[in-house]
C-alpha cells in the first residue's frame, strides 16, 4: 500500500511540471524534429528505406571485380548465360524461401519438397504410363500439400518453423527414397516417355546468350510474387505477420490461416521449381539438390531479407541468387579451389546479415 501511494504521489508531483508545459503547446507540438544527422546515419536511413540497394551494389561490384580478376572469360556470353542457368533452380527455391522468411519463419525443407514433387512427376509419367500433364499436376499438388503441411504444423502445434521444417525435411527425403528405391529416373527414359518434363530445359539463343526457358520462368515467378507482395492485401499481410504477429492479429488478420496459405503458395512455387529442375538436370535423382535448402536461405539473406521477418524484397532474393552464381563462377574461373568459393560465400553471408542488423538499428 505504501509503495502504491508513493507512486501516486510521484504522479501528483509531476502535475505542476505538466501544467507549465501547456503554455508552449501551440508552438511546437506539431513539429517532429529529426535532429542532426551524420552522413553515416543518412546512409543507414537510406538503406533502411531501400533494402534492395545493398544486394544490387554487391552484384555490380562483384561483376566488375571478377571482370578484372578473371578477364574476358568471365564476361563471355557463354559464361554469363551459364551463371543464369545455374542460378535458376536456387533462384526459384529462394523465391519460395523469401515468402517464409518474410513471415519470420524459415523453411529447411524446400529442396526436399522439390525433389519429392519431381519424383511424383517422373515416376507417374515415365514408369507408370500416366500422361505427362496429369503427372505434373500431381507434382504440383504434392508441392502445395507438403507446403500446407508445414504451415499446419507451424500454426496448429505452435512449433517453431525451424523445428517443423527440420522434421519435414527428413520426412520428405525419406519419402523420396521410399518412392524411388534410391533409383534415379534416367534422362533418356524421360526423353522417350515424357519429353514435356524437359520443357523448361529447352534453350534459346539471343545474340550469343543462351537462355533456358526455365530462366524466363524464374524471372516470371519473381515478377508475379512481386505483384502479389506489393499490390495485394495478401502480400501486405505477409509483411504484417512477419513484422509483428500479435499486432497483425489485433488488426483483424487471421494470421494462422494466412500462414498456412503462405506455406502453401511457397509449396506451389517449389513444385514449379521441381518441373524446371527436371529440365535442368535431365534426370530425376533422389539425392540431387541436397544443399538446395541452405543455398536458398543464403540467396535470401544475401538479398537483404531479414531473418527476423517483415523486412526485405522478393527481387532482392533474385539478386542474392545471382550474387552467389557470380561468386562461384568468378572464383572458379579465377582458378580458386571450390573450398575458397565456400569460404567466400560464408563471409558474404555473415557480412550480409551484419549489414542487415546495422540497418535495422534505425528503428530503435
Amino acid at each position: 500500500m505504501n509503495k502504491i501511494s508513493d507512486d501516486i504521489s510521484k504522479d501528483l508531483k509531476d502535475q505542476p511540471k505538466f501544467s507549465s508545459d501547456i503554455g508552449s503547446k501551440d508552438q511546437d507540438h506539431h513539429s517532429f524534429e529529426l535532429g542532426e544527422q551524420t552522413t553515416l546515419k543518412k546512409i543507414q536511413h537510406f538503406l533502411h528505406g531501400n533494402p534492395t540497394i545493398v544486394p544490387v551494389i554487391i552484384l555490380i561490384l562483384s561483376v566488375i571485380g571478377f571482370g578484372f580478376i578473371a578477364g574476358g572469360k568471365f564476361f563471355s556470353a557463354f559464361n554469363l548465360s551459364l551463371i543464369v542457368q545455374q542460378v535458376t533452380i536456387v533462384g526459384i527455391l529462394a523465391a519460395a524461401q523469401t515468402l517464409i522468411i518474410l513471415t519470420a519463419g524459415i523453411d529447411l525443407s524446400v529442396a526436399a519438397m522439390m525433389v519429392l514433387a519431381s519424383v511424383f512427376m517422373g515416376k507417374l509419367s515415365v514408369e507408370m504410363g500416366i500422361p505427362t500433364l496429369p503427372a505434373i499436376m500431381v507434382g504440383m499438388i504434392s508441392g502445395v500439400a507438403t507446403g500446407a503441411f508445414n504451415g499446419l504444423l507451424v500454426t496448429r502445434l505452435r512449433l517453431p518453423p525451424f523445428i517443423v521444417t527440420l522434421g519435414t525435411w527428413n520426412i520428405f527425403f525419406a519419402l523420396v527414397i521410399f518412392f524411388t528405391g534410391s533409383q534415379s529416373i534416367r534422362s533418356s527414359d524421360i526423353e522417350i516417355n515424357a519429353p514435356l518434363l524437359h520443357f523448361w530445359g529447352e534453350r534459346i539463343n539471343l545474340g550469343g546468350f543462351v537462355f533456358t526457358y526455365g530462366a524466363f520462368l524464374m524471372i516470371g515467378i519473381f515478377v508475379f510474387l512481386w505483384f502479389l507482395l506489393n499490390k495485394t492485401a495478401w502480400g501486405r499481410h505477409v509483411y504484417a505477420i512477419g513484422d509483428d504477429k500479435d499486432a497483425a492479429e489485433l488488426s483483424g488478420i487471421r494470421t494462422d490461416r494466412m500462414l498456412v496459405s503462405i506455406y502453401a503458395v511457397a509449396g506451389l512455387v517449389v513444385a514449379i521449381g521441381a518441373w524446371v529442375s527436371i529440365g535442368r538436370v535431365g534426370s530425376v535423382s533422389p539425392t540431387s539438390f541436397y544443399e538446395g535448402n541452405l543455398d536458398s536461405i543464403t540467396a535470401v539473406v544475401i538479398g537483404g531479407t531479414s531473418l527476423f521477418g517483415g523486412r526485405g524484397t522478393i527481387i532482392g532474393s533474385l539478386f542474392g541468387a545471382l550474387i552467389v552464381g557470380v561468386f562461384s563462377s568468378g572464383l572458379s574461373i579465377a582458378g580458386l579451389d571450390v573450398l575458397w568459393q565456400r569460404f567466400a560465400l560464408g563471409c558474404l553471408i555473415i557480412i550480409a546479415v551484419g549489414i542487415d542488423q546495422w540497418i535495422r538499428k534505425v528503428s530503435n
Binding site: L12, F18, Y239
Partner: protein, 254 residues
Amino acid sequence: MEPILVAKNLSKKYGKVVALDDANLELYPGEVLGVIGDNGAGKSTLIKVLCGAVIPDSGEILLDGKQVSFTSPIEARTLGIETVYQNLALSPALSITDNMFLGREIRQKGFMGKFLKFLDKKAMAEEARKRLSELGLLTIQNINQLVETLSGGQRQGVAVARATSFGTKVVIMDEPTAALGVKESRRVLELIGEVRARGIPIILISHNMPHVFEVADRIHIHRLGTRLCVIDPKKYEMSDAVAFMTGAKEAPAN
C-alpha cells in the same frame, strides 16, 4: 440521455481469483470516461471484456441499447468498438497507409480489384491523409512513410486515426501516454479532445492522474473488482480520487 455502451453485472474469475465482481460501466455519447483503479483492481480485465479480449463468466454488454457478445477483439471491432492498445498493435515495417487499412484494405474497382485483387493504393493514401488531417496530424509529411520512422506520439496518432476511421462507435484507449514524453503526451491529450469533438466517446484507462483529470468528463473508479463510484473531476481533487482508489477514504454514494 441513453448511454451508448453499458456493461451490466460483469463477473470474471481466474481460478480462485476474482477479477471482476458484478462490475458495471456506462459510457455516454460524446464523453471521455476515465477509468482508474489500483493495480489488481480489475480494471484491465474490465477493459479486456469490453474490447473482446476476455470473455466474461456472466453479465451482459449493451451497445446502442442492444445486447452484444463477442469472442475476439475483431468481432468487437466489427460492431464499432475500437481499441488503441498500449503497444498500439501497429506493424512498424509497413507504411502509415498500410497500417491504417491493415485487414480492411480497399481494392481497386473492376477487373483489377475483383479478380487480380489489386489494392487501390491511391484511394487508401487519400483516405489516410484525410483522416490524419482531421485529427490535426497532417504534419506527418509522407503518408507512405514507414511507421518505425515515426516518434512515439506520431505512432499514437496513427493508431488513433485508425481506430476512429471505420464507422467507430466507441474508442477504448489503454494507457495512451504511458510511453511518451511530456510534449508528446500533451499532443495525445489534445488528440483525445479532437476525437471527442467529432462525437466519438472514449474510454480512457490511465495510471496518470493529471492526464485523466485533465481530459475526462467523468471518472470511473474501480476497486476490488467492481465499480466503487463515478466522480466528476471538477468537484474532486486528485488526492480524493487516490484516497477512494486505495480505500483510505469513504467513496461518495452515487
